[in-house]
Amino acid sequence: MKRLFAVALGVLTAIGGFVDIGDLVTNAAVGARFGLSLAWVVVVGVLGICVFAEMSGRVAAVSGRATFDLVRERLGPRAGLLNLLASMAVTFLTMAAEIGGVALAFELATSVNAYLWMPVAGAAVWLVLWRVKFAVLENAFGLAGLSLVVFAFAVWKLGPDWGHLVSAALHPKVPVTEDAFVYAYYAIALFGAAMTPYEVFFFSSGGIEEHWDVKDVATMRANVFVGFPLGGVLSLAIAASAALVLLPRGIEVDTLGHVALPVGEAVGKLGLAFALLGFFAATFGAACETGLSVGYSIAQYFGWQWGKFVEPLRAARFHVVLLLASATAVAILLTTVDPIMLTEYSVVFSAVALPLTYLPILVVANDRTYMGDHANGVVANLLGSVYLVLVVLASVAALPLMLITKAGQ
C-alpha cells in the first residue's frame, strides 16, 4: 500500500511538475498561431524526455551518483566543462524566466506591476531552496501544478469539433498563411521546451536526494512513463484551448495573461483562479528546480558537497551558488527585460544545448563500470541514438532559423 501511494504521488507530481513557463508560453503561442498542426512535436518531445529521464534516473538509482557527477569522471574535465557551461547557461536563463513567470502570475492576481514582484519572487525562491525540505518542495508544487488541468476542462467546456481537432493534430501541415521556416522555428521551440536540459539534471540529482536504489527503478519508471506523458497532455490542452479561442480572433500570445484567456471564456472566474494557481505552482516549482539544477551541476563538477539532504552548513558552497543564482536572476530581470521574451529565447537556446546534455547521459548509461547489468539495452540505445540525431538537427537548425525568421515573426 505504501509503495502504491509512493507511485501515485510520484506520478501526480510528475504530471503537475511537467509544465513550466516555457511550456505554458510556447504551447499557447503555437496553438494561437498554428492550431494543433504542431501537436506532433509535443509527442516527439515528451517521448524524448521520457527516454533520457529514465536513463538519468536509472544511473542515479543504480550507481548512487547523479548523472553529471559521473560526466566529468567519465568524459574528462574539458568535455565536462563544455557540458557544464552550455547546460548551465540555458538552465540559468530558464531560472530567470521562471522567476519572471512567478512575478507575472502575481501581477495578474493583484494588478501590482510585475517588476515590483520580481525581487519578492527571487527572495521567496531562495528562501524555499534554503529552508524547505526537498520532498515538500517537490510534492507541494507538483500537486498544486495539477490545477492546470483546468485547461483540459476548458477545452471540453468549449465544445469543440473533436473530429476536426484530432484531424488537425494527426495531419500536420504548414498553414497557408505561414512560412515553412517559421513553422520549423516554432517546432524547434516546442521541442526545446519539452526537452529542457534542467529536467534531467533535476531528475537524476533528485533521485540522490531521495536516496533511490535499484529497488526504486520501477517507481521511477512509472513516474517517467506515466507522469510525463500525462504532463504532455496538459501541454496539448493549453495549445488546444488557444487554438479554439485565440486563433479564430487573430490573437497572438505575447503575455502570460493571454495564456489563460480561453479558460476565462470557457469556465469563468473560478477557472481563472485555478489557472493562476497553476501558473504560480508551475513557475515557482520550476524556478526552484532550475535553481537547484544550477547548484547541483556546479557542485557536482567541482566535487563539492551538495544537496538538500545535508545541512546547509555542510554544503555551504552549494548554497552560496543557489543564493548567487537567485540574486543574479533577479538582477537580469530588473534590467526590464521582458520575461516572456526571455522564455522564448530560453527554449530556443535549450534546443541549441540539447546534444551537450543528452550525449553524456547516453554514454554514462552505457558504462557497465557504473551500471553493471542495468546498462542500456537495445531499445534504450536505439531510442537514445534516434533522439540524439534529432537533438543534433534541432541544435544545428535553431540559430539559423532564429535569424531567418527574425525569431518567429
Binding site: 563544455l82 493583484t110 494588478s111 505575447d254 484567456l261 476565462g264 472566474k269 481563472l272 554514454v363
Partner: protein, 175 residues
C-alpha cells in the same frame, strides 16, 4: 529464425550496445571559435531591416496591422469577459493595459520606416490612422475598466470590435 539472420541480429545488437560505451572525447577548445558567431547571431536577431521596396513596405504594414489586430481583439475579449462576470477586474486590467502598451512600439516601428516611394504614401497614412484609432479604442477600454464603468466598457467593446474589423480588412487588402 535462421542461424545467419540470428547472427546478424546479434551483431546489430552488440553494435548498438557497444557504440555508446566506447565513446571518448578528445579535448579541444571548440568554444573559442564559436563565441563570435553566437554573439553575431544574438546581435542580428534583434535587428530590423528597413523596407527598400514596395513589397517590403507592404509586408511591414501587414505585420503592424496583424499585431495591432491582436492587441485590439485581446482587449475586446478581456472586456467582454469582465462584463459577463467571467474575469476579475484585476486580471482584465493587466490584459488591457498590456495590449495598450504593446501598440506603442508597433506604431513607432511602422512610423519609423520610410516609404520607399510616393506610391505607398497613402498606405502609410491609412495604416498610421488606423493604428491611432486602435490606440484611442484601447485607451477608452482601459479608462472604463479602471473606473469600473460598465457602460463605458460596453462602448469600448463596440469601438474595439469596429477598429479590429477595419484593421483586418486593411490587412487583407495590403498584400
Amino acid at each position: 529464425m535462421s542461424a545467419r539472420s540470428g547472427s546478424t541480429v546479434m551483431s546489430v545488437r552488440s553494435t548498438v550496445l557497444s557504440v555508446w560505451s566506447t565513446v571518448r572525447f578528445r579535448p579541444r577548445s571548440s568554444l573559442r571559435g564559436a563565441a563570435p558567431g553566437i554573439a553575431l547571431a544574438l546581435l542580428l536577431s534583434g535587428c530590423v531591416v528597413p523596407a527598400r521596396t514596395d513589397a517590403g513596405y507592404r509586408t511591414d504594414a501587414s505585420m503592424a496591422l496583424e499585431s495591432a489586430t491582436s492587441a485590439t481583439r485581446t482587449a475586446q475579449l478581456a472586456l467582454q469577459q469582465w462584463l459577463q462576470g467571467r474575469m476579475p477586474r484585476t486580471y482584465a486590467n493587466i490584459v488591457v493595459t498590456d495590449s495598450e502598451s504593446s501598440l506603442g512600439p508597433i506604431q513607432a516601428s511602422f512610423g519609423g520606416v520610410d516609404p520607399p516611394n510616393r506610391k505607398v504614401d497613402s498606405l502609410r497614412a491609412e495604416v498610421g490612422g488606423e493604428l491611432s484609432d486602435a490606440a484611442d479604442a484601447l485607451a477608452q477600454g482601459r479608462i472604463a475598466l479602471r473606473r469600473s464603468d460598465r457602460a463605458g466598457a460596453m462602448k469600448a467593446v463596440a469601438a474595439l470590435g469596429k477598429v479590429s474589423s477595419t484593421l483586418e480588412k486593411t490587412g487583407a487588402g495590403v498584400q
